[in-house]
Symmetry: C2
Subunit: 154 residues, 2 copies
């Protein structure tokens, strides 16, 4: 499944595992470089793609369609609830959804069914007092490349 074990691939896997939340390929690449690990952006993209293919990582897309990766926990969880404000994610129990998808597959005769389930919301920590006007902090692409510290603590 995994290709050859190289310094770079190892580094990517470790960095991703340290994140515990969803990160973009570019963010991860930045992290690596900032930590003095020389890796090409291309390689990070490839490593993540392969990780996804081999089931070692889960992927979601943010509002901009950008791919965000997260190491798949040992228990095999695949579905997450993530906060649109801080970006933090937590696995959710999706057995019900799996069954539901299975039933649909059976009743329609569709083969090779795949499903994507994404839950987003504003976590309790990020909730202002009132409504959802403009949450405190946004995760997405910030004008400056600095403040992203929020994403990953390595």
């Amino acid at each position: 499944m995994d290709g050859r074990t190289t310094r770079q691939r190892l580094a990517v896997m470790r960095a991703l595992a340290d994140c515990e939340d969803f990160v973009s390929a570019q963010a991860l690449h930045n992290l690596l470089v900032e930590n003095g690990i020389r890796v090409g952006l291309t390689t990070v993209y490839r490593a993540l793609r392969d990780l996804e293919a081999s089931g070692g990582a889960d992927v979601v897309r943010d509002d901009a369609g950008e791919r965000l990766y997260r190491t798949r926990p040992a228990d095999g969880h695949r579905h997450y609830l993530l906060c649109r404000a801080c970006g933090r994610s937590r696995p959710v129990d999706s057995a019900i959804v799996e069954e539901w998808a299975g039933r649909i597959a059976a009743s329609t005769g569709y083969a090779a069914m795949e499903h994507t389930v994404e839950l987003t919301g504003i976590c309790t920590t990020c909730q202002p007092s009132g409504e959802e006007g403009e949450p405190p902090c946004r995760l997405e692409r910030a004008p400056d490349t600095q403040g992203r510290a929020r994403n990953c603590v390595s």
Copy 2:
């Protein structure tokens, strides 16, 4: 909700409704132009974005992250099962999933919950005899032979 009612917006809405399946902004633009309706690509993008915002259309993303739009049926269905081979889509009953999402919101305290559910598979018509190798790839409603790669991604 909707902006002003212009010739172009009407055309986009009509074309989308005629499709009955998910189409990309560009494919829709091609359709319109090929039918002699002069509309700018920019306008199609905007019309679709606005339609989505006002709940008049549902959106999914294909493997490439491209947005595909479909008119929202009158019954308010929001979730679909679509064939990865021919691109055809059918609404599915997702009440169970809605409930499930609601429960999760309640138990986690997350606010402003949103969910995305996407089901894909190979419909009975597109199923070869054996495995999922290279499905037949139906041409369906996209006239020219260009953008087809989109719909036929396996």
